[in-house]
Subunit: 275 residues, 4 copies
């Protein structure tokens, strides 16, 4: 399956300000790209790219005063398979986890692991370890938290979600991540494209999405406490401890969002993918 | 100057539990070691070592039920110079910061940068940028926060320190780090040995200490909002975003501290360093 | 001046639920009423009325499943004068404050006085005590906090407002109240009608409003950190420690707001007030 | 049974400061007093007494610079019966609660009712209403929270106790009160004497204690999530929404505690009570 990806984001600045962006497809998907994945701006400004601490491809530039548009489009090959489900995937004891997964057991900006550890043990300690436990966590979060655009905030933490029981996709994942870590299961935040491929007509405008990954058995697996059902067509852009690491744009100076458009559509079989 | 370093830490477990430790001297100081720096345990258990996400040397082992002692001792060559002071060191604009410093501008578990950004701008926005601003931040924290062992807690954040105005060394550094990042100055947490070398008789038992580093001009510099004066004999063990990354021991299971001893003494000139 | 007051509030319930309301004019204004001030509902349900802990007139009833409308209208005589300003009003030392004002020095649900006391002393400790200090507090809050309907939440506290710097009228007052109490000035929350009388054309729909009162010299005075200018036509409904005590409706069961209309209009001279 | 009550509290001030104290026996116990209940100070300062918003007897005075001792002793007649237990006591629906109990359903400084309502419903919604539910709440808090003097703080809220699972007696009660209110059961904080009468040798020094009261059936009943067993010899001093209302001393200026002694002993039968 081919997926057409793209975005067009407008930001308005009163004064020139540095911006960093994680708007590129994640390096783990480079082999699937069928077109270059380039960040462009209008007006054109020099853009520097490098890998961040978590291996994401970061762009950096200075936005001039006034409006700037960030635009990109690319084409990616996808299996078209929904998120893998493997009920037999086991929890790995901390002493045998790959060292690079250990940091994902600890607290982070939006995931206060110590604060939610006692209730996590009470809610999920009796559930069979492994995939079933992670799924129980997703079920709990999905059922108890309601989606509410108006009730989120960039400073909302997992504890806030636990008490307020409402939020947007990042909030669902933060709470689920925190519960997983509290149970000693490595969990990391993921952000990317999630189109409505394979989903009965979704009338809402496309946006970027957040999900999360847990380390079980021998690799990272995708979970999504917001949708809580396997989905097709996720295209990863960034991972990190939580949303603090994976903000798609970070502006060092006051900015206003003036435009926001995201595309993530399956290219129908037979269609010319370069159209 | 030669400094004799060592620790002897007792932990008691009801059941076997994995432990990770950052008790080794930081790789940046390997060239200065004059003795091997080995973590040993009593009873002896297999210890695995590797580098963590931040480049610290991490040890991992499974503690058996009962008491375990973690012990180490080594000898390090030190310049004996106090922390460098360079009033001319400039702030680097975000667009020219080395990419690997950028993550140290953002929020982390104990450093809620967004929450303290407005007050940081009010308190330090008018101060000359660069070294003077960082020093003003340290002066503010040092003056307004009182050292109080009883009023800290492992979950205390920079905002808690700002409101409660009391804490231990990690709390001072978290608040200062948060203010620095709010002013767009990269700041990271540091933990290590800090003996009383060059300090008029300090009657308190030695402990590990926390300080922080900021990126100015072309490198990281040491600051310490707790002591707020250049000190001799710091030996770095771990750096990270904040104390969540640099806990000297992390136990994955309930543990009780049964013993705690740290040594960090200058070896008098002429003394046999292997005594 | 005569002011026509009224409200029409729709709430929808899935199941019958008790409701309490503070929708009556405050007893301190009874002498000014020119029409009865009665709460009615559609469908009609029995309503009980009594005074709450703070002397407000509270209504209580059981809402049936489905929609209920709460309606009231009354007519009140008002001096038409703007809020009194008395720069000479002095702070009263705690030992000479009337006993009934003392509770208004302490923390409450949305006003964490201890947490903001150090910064209050730093910001306002040097300002002349009395009216000038309260005005300085209002100026600070009015200037530093931006009005933002979308960024409030029923659980937002004064500390949240201090860090987030945005909110609705209750948020402005909570922060100002907290600062006043931290300076040992009794401050209480007030809710009521605030029409746009005397204000150049205000195109926004009328709502109830919040302000606050401080005790200086020998009585309570009205302040309003949201508008921060003397206003005409305030009609008090409820006072309390903070918004926890003065919620205009409290439902003991899930409810949805289906309608909301508030009227607070000057009756033009010569108009028949009963029209 | 006769109980000898008394206290001797030393406070040290750098500058003269107003103090309020709730060190008198609660008015509801006046009929039981067998000696006058007078607050005295050394040095002697004028003391004013009045009732506070919650009906407690409050003392107010100005402490001079230096040390002041607050002392009192009295003798009270007590039934000697343990706290009443009445498993048949029913929850009263909100619409039939006495109006004066309604405020005890809402949030207060240390009891964030809204924040803990969802988890309260999850933990206690299935328990039989009435006494059994309150007892289930006490059992939960008693079992899950550990007593830890070092981990409390004057700013610790019910949510902090829920997450941190440790605290002193006030912390246990705050969490239990919050859960009760979340279940629409009026609950208020209580502070007073609780000697070790009827308790097998308690080697710890006497202190004041906190418990709480809930309104069931037709009156307030005593519960104590800290001890969670009926106790003899409680002598009430103050009630309020939470510890913010019932602090035994409040100083309006920095003070250091220099002495603290509390007596609450049964006078053995036959002993001369005035000895």
């Amino acid at each position: 399956m081919l997926i057409r990806l793209g975005y067009d984001i407008g930001l308005s600045f009163l004064a020139p300000a540095p911006v960093t962006a994680l708007l590129s497809v994640h390096p783990s998907r480079y082999a699937d790209l069928r077109e270059p994945d380039v960040v462009t701006t209008t007006p054109v400004v020099p853009i520097e790219q490098f890998f961040d601490l978590f291996g994401n491809r970061m762009s950096r530039f200075v936005a001039p005063a006034g409006e700037i548009r960030l635009q990109g489009r690319t084409l990616i090959e996808d299996t078209g398979l929904p998120d893998a489900v493997h009920w037999g995937a086991r929890e790995i004891p901390v002493e045998r986890l790959p060292p690079e997964t250990l940091r994902y057991l600890l607290g982070s900006r939006y995931c206060e692991v110590e604060l939610l550890s006692p209730i996590a043990a009470e809610l999920f300690g009796h559930v069979a370890p492994g995939w079933a436990r992670v799924q129980a966590i997703c079920d709990w979060v999905h059922t108890r938290v309601s989606y509410s655009f108006g009730q989120s905030s960039p400073t909302r933490t997992a504890l806030d979600v636990f008490t307020g029981r409402a939020g947007v996709c990042r909030d669902f994942q933060h709470l689920a991540i925190t519960f997983c870590r509290a149970m000693h299961i490595p969990a990391r935040y993921a952000a990317g494209y999630l189109g409505d491929i394979g989903v009965p007509a979704a009338p809402i405008p496309m946006d970027f999405s957040a999900w999360f990954e847990v380390y079980l058995e021998d690799r990272w697996w995708t979970f999504d406490a917001r949708h809580n059902t396997p989905r097709q067509g996720r295209v990863l852009m960034a991972t990190g401890l939580d949303a603090a690491d994976a903000a798609l744009t970070t502006t060092y100076g006051a900015a206003t969002l003036t435009h926001f458009e995201v595309v993530s559509d399956e290219v129908p079989a037979g269609a010319h993918p370069f159209a």
